[in-house]
């Protein structure tokens, strides 16, 4: 043995260590790959040796190679070997390697569970620490589940070094195993007040991370954090807490009000910039959450803006950047206070730092007004020209479009200017945002009717010079613009001066090189243009021109018929045939223009995006209900309806109309309206404010003809600049005019005000040409908010857990077991277990559990006994002081502290279930001392008590006045109780909304509880388990219902538990009667053989309906579904 060690160390002497490897790689610069591959071979040899030192050395080298990008997953097992070394030196190497290259897909990870557990409970703190650190990087759901309890124990370790690591890693565990959050949370909360600042900081860290994603669950911690904030001196902790408050305030404005003062104090007092910045940030968040415009907070806003200005003016670029970032947050709610710093922000636009320029751009969005929009955009256009990198230029482009199009083009006074800007932007080469420009063009052309003539002229020019746009590169994003150009020219072809020329341009052979979807639009719109040309020539006697056009189409279209793109092919061949037919007709001198234009008649209004989504679902329509019987699970998973609908261009599918015959149009509109009125599914248009002005400005502004020889580049000045000049002149002129006829103007302004929401000063600037922006159609009662942007795959969704609810039995963390996979009876498990490091609380629980396990039978009987006894006591009491009985019960409940200890909670549901069982099943006689029953009872949770209480109350009622019914009878009816919970006000019921309808007829309604199926393993029958089904019976008639009998046809797997001596088909009597309008709950116990089989049980309920004059027998059939998951939900975990 000793020799072996000696041998190992001698071997090691001459192995390469990490330093040698690094040196070697540096010395082999020219053939690095080859050198490394020989090294990997060496490492493989080393890994085969028995000596752990050699292996560790090899693994260490692998870690380095992993960094260089080499896949080392083949050595995963060796890494595990090194991890399990008893020496800290090697263990550390192993864990480091594991943390670098293990992930959820690594299969050897499951081998590590026990090793990690061993390390976690190691007496050496650094072994534990290293294991925790490693685990934090590669924890998987399985590891998290198996080790959660061990880590939770470590949270109370004596060494703060371990405690803080254990606290921190809990976050990772929560992410992977969300079930652990609730049981671990109380302890996590304790750690907020840990004496060690490191542990405290870790706990704050974890809770902040959790709260950031699901803030509402952590509101209750606010006071604690508030205390920490005022007491802590650690800036890291303070920053975290302040950030957390920033996330909480939107949910609780009162918190915000309290925060303002301490935060302002901090802002004044702190010297740490990071803290100051976070404080300002949170104050901003608070101000946003408070209803804006509260006068007493304007001081805080001023303070924030002031401090931010100082940051922005700082020479440190980092502070400047952050200042701008925070400024943009204020901008949303308090634009005015930011606008006063416009000078500073415009200055930042010229900063040499791109990040800062981008931030300043963000702010610009809120800076613009009708007055300065043109100036600002001009400045941006200059930047566009200067911009060197494409990313920044693209960013500029999107910002220009954002700024201009914001709130329905509110700030644009001259749309001709905007169109020219868009056209100028098409000069950008290699931009990714061609589609953005295109959609803007389309949007403006469609929604601003007055601009169509100008837009069409511009687009025709664009089409004519398409070769400049398509340029050399095929994947040039800018050619998207041609899509818009072609569509606009086609759609509004009546504005075209020379449709023939445009048609010709659209049918050039070069078009065939454009992307398919653009070609398709070309073809379609060529047809529209064709219709226009035909109509134009119809009036003339000379039919030659029209025939020439047909010939042109017939000549050129075959090119598109051959297209590889199906869409293009289909449209082209369709239109080609059409044109051929038209040509025949033309030759016969038949007038066809009317018919051809009719092909493209009709106008569609723009529809708001997501309008369809926002149509509220009509009442009574359940979209999730199956129309047909659902297919088997696996099939429905595979099918994705997406495949059915091929990719389409939804935006532009509204492309057929030309404005033709007014009469025809009016007629159609009438017909359509009539149809819509009858059609319940039609989304009605919101009354769009269509105000038509006579446009005085249009005539004043000459349409600038673009010099075609230098296409799109007007020599000297870009055309948008000319607009700028014109605009200034116009304003001057208007000012002068306004002085003269003030009175007249005022009337007009009254009209304008409808559309304008800008500040008073801006109203003075009248738009160059009044435009009617057709508002987008929305369904009548559309819901304004849309939450559909949330990522469904967010792991934090699972952590959205209510932490204030008491812990249920089923939620306890699994404790380590020797064979955790094997489903054993809890009793056995618990007897085998003994956990030394458990806290007092835990061990108490343990004991409880043990007891519970051992005396499973006894307990059940005890419970029954207790119940019986309870009844007796209750009845005695009732006889003497019926009112006080309830009273005392309530006071007793109130006396029990609301946060009952976990031991109590532990037993609650199961005991409750047992009680329920007994109420359904006939009592069995068991010997047990009644003394035991009493403490047991007080320990049971509120929930159980409530049930009992309800029953008691009912009994009392029944006893006293059968016919008098009171509200709280219906408390068992789930949701009802929320509405009329008069009695239970001190203690609101836990949410019981998970009842669903089982069966219903005119007399009675049965509701089954979904999740409350307690799956309970019996101690002595190995495999038999029980499911408790809670059913609510609600009397819907106005007669008295009695003698209700509940029966279910047993299956092989599931049997209704009946009292001893009853036959297999006998019914169970429901232990109550129902006066009119009253509901009550009963529990039925089923024994289940196998939990892997879903069950559908048929059952009947028979009852007698007793009205004043007669009584009839009635029957109601129902079906009970036990899905496998309903067994699983509450699979007990043993603690």
């Amino acid at each position: 043995m000793a020799l072996k060690i000696v041998k190992g160390s001698i071997d090691r002497m001459f192995d390469k260590n990490l330093q040698d490897l690094v040196r070697g790689i540096r010395n082999h610069k020219e053939d690095e790959a080859k050198y490394i591959s020989t090294c990997i071979d060496e490492i493989k040899q080393e890994l085969k040796q028995d000596n752990i030192a050699v292996k560790a050395n090899a693994v260490c080298k692998l870690t380095y190679l992993q960094m260089l990008g080499y896949d080392v997953s083949w050595a995963a097992f060796n890494i595990v070997e090194v991890m399990s070394s008893s020496k800290f030196t090697y263990k550390r190497i192993g864990y480091l390697a594991a943390s670098q290259c293990f992930h959820e897909g690594t299969d050897v990870i499951m081998l590590t569970t026990n090793q990690i557990r061993k390390d976690l409970s190691s007496p050496h703190q650094y072994d534990t620490g290293v294991a925790l650190t490693g685990l934090s990087c590669f924890v998987t759901p399985d590891l998290a589940r198996d080790l959660a309890n061990d880590i939770m124990t470590l949270m109370s370790h004596t060494k703060p070094y371990i405690r803080k690591k254990a606290v921190l890693i809990m976050y990772k565990v929560f992410l992977k195993y969300p079930e652990s959050l609730r049981p671990a949370f109380p302890r996590l909360k304790e750690k907020l007040e840990d004496p060690d600042p490191g542990v405290q900081s870790a706990a704050v860290n974890v809770i902040c991370e959790l709260a950031r994603r699901n803030p509402k669950n952590y509101l209750s911690l606010a006071p604690l954090f508030f205390k920490l904030m005022t007491s802590s001196t650690n800036n890291w902790v303070l920053i975290k807490i302040i950030k957390l408050f920033g996330a909480l305030t939107p949910l609780e404005p009162r918190l915000g009000k309290k925060l303002i003062e301490p935060l302002t104090n901090l802002i004044h007092s702190t010297s740490a910039m990071s803290l100051l910045y976070e404080c300002v940030n949170t104050v901003i968040a608070v101000l946003i959450s408070l209803s804006s415009g509260m006068p007493n907070h304007s001081a805080s806003i001023q303070l924030c803006v002031q401090k931010l200005r100082i940051l922005i003016e700082d020479s440190d670029q980092n502070l400047k950047y952050l200042g701008l970032l925070a400024m943009s947050k204020i901008l949303k709610t308090h634009p005015k206070s930011v606008q006063s710093h416009k000078d500073l922000i415009l200055q930042c636009l010229d900063d040499k730092d791109e990040s800062i320029r981008l931030r300043a751009l963000d702010l610009l969005y809120g800076m613009v007004s009708k007055k300065n929009l043109m100036e600002i955009v001009k400045k941006l256009m200059l930047h566009v020209d200067k911009a060197e990198g494409t990313t920044y230029r693209d960013e500029l482009l999107t910002k220009i479009i954002d700024i201009c199009s914001q709130s329905n083009y509110q700030y644009i006074t001259n749309f001709e200017w905007y169109i020219s800007i868009l056209v100028e932007l098409t000069r950008l080469e290699g931009t990714r945002h061609g589609h953005l420009i295109a959609s803007q063009m389309l949007d403006v052309a469609i929604r601003v009717k007055a601009i169509r003539g100008f837009a069409v002229a511009q687009m025709a020019t664009l089409l004519d010079n398409a070769h400049l746009l398509t340029g050399n590169t095929q994947r040039n994003g800018i050619c998207e613009v041609l899509y818009a150009a072609a569509w606009i020219c086609g759609e509004f072809s009546e504005h075209l001066e020379d449709p023939m020329q445009t048609l010709e341009a659209m049918l050039r052979p070069k078009v065939a090189t454009l992307p398919g979807h653009i070609q398709a639009v070309y073809v379609q719109n060529a047809a529209k243009l064709f219709a226009t040309v035909l109509r134009k020539h119809e009036g003339e006697t000379d039919s030659h021109a029209a025939q020439e056009t047909s010939q042109l189409l017939i000549d050129r279209l075959p090119l598109f018929v051959q297209s590889a793109n199906l869409e293009v092919q289909e449209r082209a061949s369709c239109i080609l045939q059409l044109v051929k037919y038209i040509q025949k007709l033309q030759q016969k001198k038949v007038e066809v223009a009317e018919e051809v234009t009719a092909l493209f008649a009709g106008e569609l209004n723009p529809v708001a995006p997501k309008a369809q989504k926002k149509v509220p679902v009509p009442e009574g329509l359940d979209l999730d209900a199956w129309i047909n019987k659902p297919p088997s699970e696996s099939e429905s998973e595979d099918e994705k309806p997406k495949a059915v609908f091929a990719k389409e261009e939804p935006k532009h599918s509204r492309s057929r109309h030309t404005e033709v015959d007014e009469k025809e149009l009016a007629r159609r509109r009438e017909a359509r309206k009539r149809e819509q009125a009858n059609n319940p599914f039609y989304i009605k248009a919101s009354p769009s404010s269509q105000k038509v002005y006579d446009a005085p400005g249009v005539e004043h502004i000459p349409v600038v003809q673009i010099d075609l020889s230098v296409p799109l580049k007007v020599p000297g000045m870009p055309m948008s600049d000319q607009y700028l000049k014109l605009e200034e002149e116009r304003r001057q002129k208007e000012k002068a005019e306004r002085k003269k006829e003030k009175k007249k103007k005022r009337e007009k302004r009254g009209k304008e005000r409808k559309a304008d929401s800008g500040p008073e000063s801006e109203e003075d600037i009248a738009p160059a040409h009044q435009v009617d922006i057709v508002t987008e159609e929305m369904p009548e009662n559309a819901l304004p908010s849309d939450d559909d942007d949330k990522d469904p795959n967010d792991p934090h969704k699972a952590l959205d857990i209510d932490l204030d609810k008491p812990l249920a039995d089923s939620e306890k963390l699994p404790v380590r077991t020797h064979r955790p996979e094997v489903l054993k009876s809890p009793a056995e498990d618990r007897v085998n277990e003994s956990i030394p490091q458990e806290t007092k609380k835990r061990s108490g629980k343990e004991k409880k559990e043990k007891k519970k396990g051992k005396e499973k039978d006894r307990k059940r009987s005890k419970e029954e006994k207790k119940k019986k006894k309870h009844k007796e006591v209750e009845e005695e009491l009732l006889e003497s002081h019926p009112e006080e009985a309830v009273q005392s019960e309530e006071t007793k409940e109130a006396a029990t502290p609301p946060t009952s200890t976990s031991a109590e909670e532990e037993t609650a549901p199961s005991s409750a279930a047992a009680v329920d069982t007994s109420s359904a099943a006939a009592p069995e006689s068991e010997p047990d001392e009644p003394k035991d029953a009493e403490p047991e009872d007080t320990k049971s949770s509120k929930h159980k008590k409530k049930k009992q209480k309800k029953e008691k109350e009912e009994k009392e009622k029944k006893k006293k006045k059968r016919h008098h019914h009171h509200h709280h009878h219906s408390n068992a009816g789930g949701e009802d109780s929320v509405q009329n919970g008069t009695v239970e006000e001190e203690e609101p019921l836990p949410p019981m909304s998970n009842y669903f309808l089982l069966a219903e007829n005119s007399y009675i309604k049965m509701m089954k509880e979904d999740a409350d199926q307690v799956y309970d393993i019996q101690g002595n029958h190995q495999d038999e388990s029980k499911v408790v089904v809670s059913v609510i019976f609600e009397n819907k008639s106005d007669s008295f219902l009695k003698s209700m009998e509940f029966n279910v046809l047993d299956s092989l797997n599931s049997k209704l538990q009946r009292p001893e001596g009853a036959g297999a088909h006998d019914s169970l009597t429901v232990p109550f009667q129902l006066p009119p309008g009253i509901s009550n709950e009963a529990h039925f116990v089923f024994s289940v053989q196998s939990i892997v089989m879903p069950q559908k049980l048929k059952g009947t309920l028979t009852f007698i309906v007793k009205s004043d004059e007669s009584s009839t027998h009635e029957k109601l059939d129902f079906k009970l579904h036990f899905t496998c998951t309903s067994y699983l939900i509450t699979t007990p975990c043993y603690l």
């Binding site: 020799l3 002497m13 040196r23 800290f88 490191g198 730092d353 791109e354």
Partner: protein, 201 residues
Amino acid sequence: MIKAILIFNNHGKPRLIRFYQYFAEDMQQQIIRETFHLVSKRDDNVCNFLEGGSLIGGSDYKLIYRHYATLYFVFCVDSSESELGILDLIQLICFFLCVCVFVETLDKCFENVCELDLIFHMDKVHYILQEVVMGGMVLETNMNEIVAQVELQNRMEKSEGGLSAAPARAVSAVKNMNLPEIPRNINIGDINIKVPSLSPF
């Protein structure tokens, strides 16, 4: 949350990488390349925050970096971290590297963090980092505490070394004398043959 810590040199060669979210090796390299590309073209006197790493994170994530001599220290963090705080943290880590790894260069301190030191002690740098950041969250920011813990662990490693580590240290001393390739030849020639004959005992 910190999503990744990357340290690379002026040529984009990784010197230490730590991802707190799994990425395959080739993806990791791609991220390093992209990050290097973004960071390296920035002047030294511009701000240390950067948005737009497309491979890692997305819109919520930022790159926060510092450039010391020949090394870039880049942290990829989300919005729950304080930007200025992380900048301080980077400085802190650099300081620890000086104190704990390159004890001999303490006087030069972190403005001169030597790239070579970092390359040859990657594992040690990792161990230091582990004391500061764990699983993507800041574990400890108290300087004394970190230094103490790292020291204790190193001492523990030394004490474990004992007999088996002594020769290794001797050898590495010899190797550092830059002898030609002789030791490796010996390894193949003598000892490997001798040892098997001994082991049956």
